[in-house]
Amino acid sequence: MPDHPRSSPVLVVEDDGLIRMDLADLLSDMGLAVIEAGNADQALKVMDTLPAISALLTDIDMPGSMNGIELAHLTATRHPTCPLVIISGRYNPADGTLPDGAVFLSKPISEQMLKRTLTAMKLMTGDSE
């Protein structure tokens, strides 16, 4: 019996609309509820209006007041148990250090890697692989 998806949505933060849409589709297909944001500022607004999110999946390089790594740090401070996934073409240490426990995934994202990561975070079970 697969676990039920958590009731809180996964927050996907990505400024490229196509990539965001595709990632959201992928997560929905895995049985997860998804909410989207185009940058960190929108993401913060979304988080303010929601009681909780089950995970944050964010790009690094985005327009707005902060990048994805800063957003991840802020999220870690506010919700210490929230799983964090950072997704980018390449990790550049100049952008900042990842928060403890955050997972980095390289773009273009591999569906298998994403499933494995979400399983490890207990957002879904591994038997769908």
Binding site: D16, G17, M21, D22, G89
Partner: protein, 486 residues
């Protein structure tokens, strides 16, 4: 018999001196007899000029300096021998006859003794010879030709000058420091360029001349090299130098080598400094690295975009054959949009070019179905890829289901900068004359790709209006981000 001077000894013996102004040998003064004996017994070139007529006597060593003038010059006047350089010789022979000796380390004569003009150098002393009452009888000269030594010295000087030029021309700063306090002995042009042109350093210690390096620890390093004899080699060393036009401090990166220099007995007596200012070089390398990092980043993002397009295409396709066709069309559109970016260089794509690419593919020039109008607006490379895709999807949809699926239908496409603030881009696609439009129950992949909007823009919106008399699509975005190069 004079074994030391066989040639001139023979001449001396055979000459009928009674027919010369000196008179018969047995009548000669004791001074002349003694000196001729000394001269003809010596291996050193010697010369005697005697009597008021300045009769010249010499030995084999001096004869060699006379070239082909010997033996004719023997027993003749001094002037006859050196007529060609008499201007130079006359003052000193006259001084000798007046009782004043002359000694010179190096006098240069151009001589014709071998039949051609020849540069020669002599060290000599003209000594007046007096009788017991003080009257000058003649002049005695012991001399040495030093032409060979002078030439060697000159060759050494030429060599030194050549080495100096090597230092001067070599790329990179070179300086020589002497003594335990590191006094500047030499510095080439590149060294001055590095520390600041026009600084006065020669003869000064490093601590006096380049004061700013003291607190940066360079004197300690020099002291250590001088004391231990171990070279100091460093790359990309940060240094602060007062090298600005007004002596202001600048931060530089240098490659630096200090090597001990030793005197003959092996003791260290100086330090050779080699330094290269690598600030610009390192900056270039860093920017190249940044560029390649940026290219890698872009490539990954493009792959992610292709991945999304492929996955959206496959996800909503009725069958594999149509999926393959749609995917290859979409990739071709992206590729064409890329060409526009690459052809003119970054920041030169325009909305008109992208619209043109779409109509080239979907319109018929013989019977145009599109009416397009709008300003020649620049568009950033990220939004340009999205806009190409949106235009392509709208056109494809119009051909399949919309206004372009019937002969009477047409598309009006216009874009503008929204006034009065002029801070937003707006594009309106309006279909007319086609079948009656109804909002589809299930969105196809085309509609989904359109709804993804303009990549890289802020506050962008795509609105699809399914009006019964024709589909409308309004694409808007903040103008600055629409035109920005990322």
């Amino acid at each position: 018999m004079f074994p030391a001077n066989p040639d001139c000894g023979n001449l001396f013996d055979e000459m009928d001196w009674s027919k010369t102004p000196l008179g018969a040998r047995e009548d000669w003064s004791v001074e002349l007899k003694t000196l001729t004996n000394v001269m003809l017994g010596s291996l050193q070139p010697m010369l005697i000029v005697w009597g008021p007529q300045q009769i010249t006597l010499y030995n084999d060593g001096y004869a060699a300096m006379c070239g082909h003038r010997h033996p004719a010059a023997f027993g003749r006047s001094f002037r006859a021998l050196w007529h060609d350089i008499w201007d130079a010789v006359e003052p000193i022979i006259t001084a000798a006859y007046e009782g004043r000796g002359t000694s010179m380390d190096d006098i240069e004569f151009t001589m014709h003794r071998n039949g051609y003009p020849e540069e020669t150098h002599f060290a000599f002393s003209y000594t007046p010879v007096r009788d017991p009452w003080g009257t000058v009888l003649g002049m005695f000269c012991a001399c040495t030709e030093i032409t060979a030594q002078v030439m060697v010295r000159r060759a050494e000087r030429t060599q030194r000058e050549r080495f100096r030029q090597v230092f001067e021309l070599s790329p990179g700063g070179i300086a020589m420091l002497v003594g335990p306090n590191h006094v500047f002995d030499y510095a080439n042009e590149d060294y001055y360029t590095m520390i600041g042109v026009g600084r006065d350093i020669i003869g000064k210690t490093v601590a006096e001349a380049v004061t700013e390096v003291v607190r940066q620890g360079f004197i300690d390093i020099l002291d250590n090299v001088y004391r231990t004899g171990e070279s100091f080699i460093a790359r990309d060393l940060p240094i602060q130098l007062n090298r600005g036009p007004d002596g202001e401090m600048q931060r530089r990166l240098i490659d630096l080598v200090y090597q001990p220099m030793r005197q003959e007995d092996g003791a260290i007596n100086g330090i050779l400094v080699q330094a290269r200012d690598v600030t610009d070089l390192r900056a270039e390398e860093a920017s190249r690295e940044l560029l390649s990092h940026e290219l890698g980043h872009r490539l990954k993002n493009q792959l992610a975009m292709v991945q999304a397009i492929a996955s959206q295409t496959l996800r909503n396709a009725p069958d594999i054959a149509s999926a393959r066709q749609r995917l290859s069309e979409r990739l071709a559109v992206l590729s064409a949009a890329h060409d526009t970016i690459l052809e003119g260089g970054r920041g030169t794509s325009t909305v008109r070019q992208l619209v043109q690419q779409m109509t080239d593919l979907h319109d018929d020039p013989a019977a145009p179905r599109f009416a397009t109008s709008g300003p020649n607006l620049k568009i950033g490379s990220r939004p340009s890829l999205s806009l190409s895709l949106i235009l392509h999807e709208l056109a494809t949809n119009a051909v399949k289901h919309g206004a372009l699926s019937v002969p009477t239908g047409s598309v009006d496409l216009r874009w503008r900068v929204v006034l009065p603030e002029a801070d937003r881009f707006e594009m309106i696609w309006t279909e007319r004359g086609g079948p009656t439009v109804a909002e589809p129950l299930v969105k196809g992949s085309g509609s989904r790709l359109i709804s993804a909007g303009l990549n890289g823009t802020s506050d962008g919106h795509v609105d699809m209006i399914y009006a019964p008399d024709g589909l409308r699509c309004i694409v808007t975005a903040d103008l600055e981000s629409f035109q920005k190069e990322h």
